[in-house]
């Protein structure tokens, strides 16, 4: 598995974990209180911060683990971490493009919610969900292309 594929896995896992934890905190409040009274700001800010920190930490751990595993198994070169070739760049571009499409659709939905004067809770969460789903889709597409080719 190339270093960039590992980073894609990290991105996907982090988005799924953070999204699931955020949903488990905020969703139970929906229905039991008016949308404007739901405390989502702090959990959302923590989720965004956690996502950034976990992605950085995960990438650092992969950077440390990859050369160690290459040394132990004799498979691959330590240089592979520094080496990003045309295939990595192309796969990253395709994955990010798919994520962009997904987030664009979500943002149009958020725009519609704003135009229909929905509470800011729904607008903020629609935007947040767009980014999270886009991250997962982007990572999934990258991993899929790494595995199946293109």
């Amino acid at each position: 598995m190339s270093f960039d594929e590992k980073v894609a896995w990290v991105g996907g896992f982090v988005a799924v974990i953070v999204g699931a934890v955020y949903a488990s905190v905020v969703l139970p409040q929906v229905g039991s209180a008016p949308a404007s009274a739901i405390a989502y700001r702090t959990p959302m800010l923590i989720a965004i911060g956690a996502m950034i920190v976990m992605t950085i930490v995960g990438t650092i751990l992969m950077s440390i683990g990859t050369p160690i595993s290459a040394e132990i198994t004799g498979n691959g070169s330590v240089d592979d971490i520094d080496r990003k070739d045309e295939r990595d760049v192309d796969i990253n571009r395709r994955g990010e493009l798919m994520g962009y499409y997904v987030s664009s659709v979500g943002l149009v939905g958020a725009l519609a919610l704003a135009m229909m004067r929905y509470d800011h809770f729904w607008i903020a969460n629609a935007i947040f969900a767009s980014f999270m789903v886009a991250s997962v889709v982007s990572a999934a597409v990258k991993v899929l292309i790494y595995r199946r080719g293109f």
């Binding site: 598995m1 270093f3 080496r83 070739d85 045309e86 790494y146 080719g149 293109f150």
Partner: protein, 74 residues
């Protein structure tokens, strides 16, 4: 969604003929990752023309001795 390449190649045979050159060594000499060499060998990726020429140059053979594109006649 993703369609593996139709380009076939003889890299594995050429590596064998070149003193059982490893995928890592070929990757180092071409300047790509070992995973990319594996993907090319398995037909999961078509490299750019530039990388294709570099691979052919490593083995000292013409490009069409490394890569083949199945045509109507085959």
């Amino acid at each position: 969604m993703v369609k593996p390449t139709q380009v076939i190649n003889s890299i594995r045979a050429l590596r064998f003929a070149a003193g059982e050159m490893t995928q890592s060594e070929l990757a180092d000499r071409v300047g790509v990752t070992r995973q990319t060499i594996i993907a090319i060998e398995q037909g999961r990726y078509s490299p750019s023309l530039e990388v294709a020429f570099k691979i052919a140059r490593v083995f000292g053979v013409p490009l069409d001795s490394v890569f083949h594109y199945p045509g109507e006649e085959s």
